[in-house]
Structure formats: structure tokens, C-alpha cells
């Protein structure tokens, strides 16, 4: 047997202490790392998509679709009815617009004003938006209608959160 393979008592103790110390350090650091990246791992409850309509129903003309979401709002937990104006563009893209006027929060209607049959119209203060949801300058709203996140799965349209533009 050669001397090279011999482990001295001092070396043995060094290895053992380093190993044990390493485990202890890892045991302390792991929860810290977990805390630090926790918000990233958490599934976002707000990002939930809801099935709203069958894709076949969607036409080039904006249609109103309604669905129900559970909402916890401070003291209250309630079912809230959500609404969207959904249509298909010339390029076969699906567009889902929030019906909440960006001026003071009334509900806008598609083509309800006879003078502007191809615009969204707000009955409160005559705010108008073009078909893509962009506010018409000179009317009260100052921002476009928010767009809903959307995805299509198995022929159904799912809508998520609305995004300001």
C-alpha cells in the first residue's frame, strides 16, 4: 500500500467539518432563497382566464359577451359580472375590448348613436371610440378602451385581465 492514499487524522477532520458545515449553511440559505424568489413562483390568481364564448360566434361586428368572476374586494366576496365587446378583425385577429368608458366609467355601446353607427358610444357624455377602441379626439375620454388578454383553446375564447393602453 502506498502512502499517497493515506488520509491523516487532520485531513479527515477537515473534510468532515467542511462537509457538516456545508450542510448547515445550505440548510440556512435554502429558505432564504425560497423567500426571495417566492413571488415569482406564486401562480397569479389575477391571471385566471375564463371561458366566454365559442369562437364560431365571433363575427366582424362587435358583440357583447358576459361572464361571471369571483372577486374578493376588501370586506366583500362577490360574484361580479364582466362584459366585453368582442369581434374579429379583417386579419382574423380576435379583439376583446372592455366596455368601461375611460372618462368616468359608464358602459359604452357599439353603434348606439345613429350618427356614428361604426363607433363605440358612451351615453353619459357622448364619448366615442373607433372600432379598435381608440378614443376619438374632441370627445371626453382621454385614453383608449382597455383590451382583455385573450387566448383560444379547443374552439373556445378565454378572456383574462384587462390591460390599459
Amino acid at each position: 500500500m502506498s502512502d499517497k492514499q493515506r488520509v491523516s487524522r487532520r485531513q479527515f477532520l477537515n473534510y468532515t467539518l467542511t462537509g457538516v458545515g456545508g450542510f448547515m449553511a445550505a440548510g440556512m440559505l435554502a429558505p432564504m432563497v425560497r423567500f426571495a424568489i417566492d413571488p415569482v413562483l406564486k401562480p397569479s390568481a389575477a391571471g385566471d382566464f375564463q371561458s366566454v364564448a365559442s369562437v364560431d360566434e365571433i363575427t366582424n361586428e362587435p358583440q357583447r359577451f358576459e361572464w361571471i368572476v369571483d372577486q374578493v374586494d376588501g370586506w366583500y366576496e362577490s360574484e361580479v359580472q364582466k362584459t366585453a365587446w368582442v369581434y374579429r378583425t379583417e386579419d382574423d385577429e380576435i379583439v376583446a375590448l372592455s366596455p368601461i368608458c375611460t372618462h368616468l366609467g359608464c358602459t359604452v355601446d357599439w353603434g348606439s348613436n345613429e350618427e356614428y353607427p361604426d363607433q363605440f358610444y358612451c351615453p353619459c357624455h357622448a364619448g366615442r371610440y373607433t372600432k379598435d377602441g381608440v378614443n376619438v379626439p374632441g370627445t371626453p375620454p382621454t385614453a383608449p378602451l382597455p383590451l382583455f388578454d385573450h387566448k383560444v383553446e379547443e374552439g373556445m375564447l378565454y378572456l383574462g385581465q384587462e390591460q390599459d393602453r
Binding site: 372618462h103 368616468l104 359608464c106 358602459t107 351615453p123 353619459c124
Partner: protein, 152 residues
């Protein structure tokens, strides 16, 4: 807009756009047990209806706090309610609507300093059924058409 802190903060900034006041009239009955139940049902239905109306026109309609009254002496209440309406005169609310299910107000309509919106109450039904929901929606639609006629 509702009579809540967050809505009122917006209201004081944008009040020139909010020209319509809706006051729910809520009667209080205490004499007979069945009227107590019916009164509470009317109150719930009143809240559902006015909140639905407010939701669609929140940028122009201010939903006032409930006007509660004892359903006995209407002559006296007329005086008090007109006082209440006058209190809003320093606000830019040009149109005042009083919303109720109580038939008795109809008789005093001319003396009120606001437009009376009276619709018949439903008989005691389940508030959360889909028929009730569609009934209330239909009533709200009719009411909003009426209110819009005053806006033009």
C-alpha cells in the same frame, strides 16, 4: 357614482359631469310582521335596481344615500324630502329622481321637487333567481331610457 369615499373623491373633482341625482326611497314598516318582511324585500330590491342603474351610468348618475322614512305620515315626509333635495341645490345636479316601490308616493307626486320613478314591486320572490335578474335588468333598461330622455 355611489356614496362611498372612493367615488366621492372622484365626484368632487369631476362634478360638472355628474348632473343626475337618484335618491332611493326606503319605507320602514314595523306594525305587522308580514309588512316587515315585505319592506325588507323592497329595500333589497331597491338596492339591486339602483346599483345596476348606477353601474351603467356611473359617470353621470350620483346615487344618493337612502332616504328612509316611516310609512305613515306622507305629508310630513314630503316636507322633509323636499328639504333633502334642496340640500343638493349647491351641487350641479340638474335632474333629481326619486326611486321607490312604495305606491303611496304616487298620490303626492306633484308636490315632490324631483321626478318620481315608481315601479311596481314584485311579489315575494327569490332575489337571486334568473327570472328576478332579468326582470330587474329590464326595469333598469326602461328607467335608463326615461332618464336619458331628460338628458337630451
Amino acid at each position: 357614482m355611489q356614496w362611498t369615499k372612493s367615488d366621492m373623491e372622484l365626484y368632487v373633482l369631476e362634478k360638472e359631469y355628474v348632473d343626475t341625482l337618484v335618491i332611493p326611497l326606503i319605507p320602514l314598516y314595523t306594525e305587522v310582521d308580514s309588512t316587515i318582511v315585505n319592506g325588507a324585500f323592497q329595500r333589497e330590491l331597491n338596492h339591486l335596481t339602483t346599483h345596476l342603474l348606477e353601474k351603467d351610468y356611473r359617470g353621470r348618475i350620483l346615487l344618493a344615500p337612502d332616504y328612509n322614512y316611516i310609512a305613515e305620515n306622507y305629508e310630513e315626509e314630503i316636507r322633509r324630502i323636499n328639504q333633502w333635495i334642496e340640500k343638493f341645490n349647491n351641487q350641479p345636479a340638474a335632474h333629481v329622481f326619486l326611486f321607490t316601490f312604495d305606491t303611496k308616493w304616487k298620490r303626492w307626486e306633484k308636490e315632490l321637487k324631483g321626478h318620481l320613478l315608481w315601479i311596481p314591486s314584485m311579489s315575494d320572490r327569490n332575489l337571486h333567481s334568473s327570472e328576478t335578474r332579468s326582470y330587474v335588468k329590464e326595469q333598469v333598461l326602461q328607467m335608463s331610457e326615461l332618464i336619458k330622455a331628460y338628458w337630451e
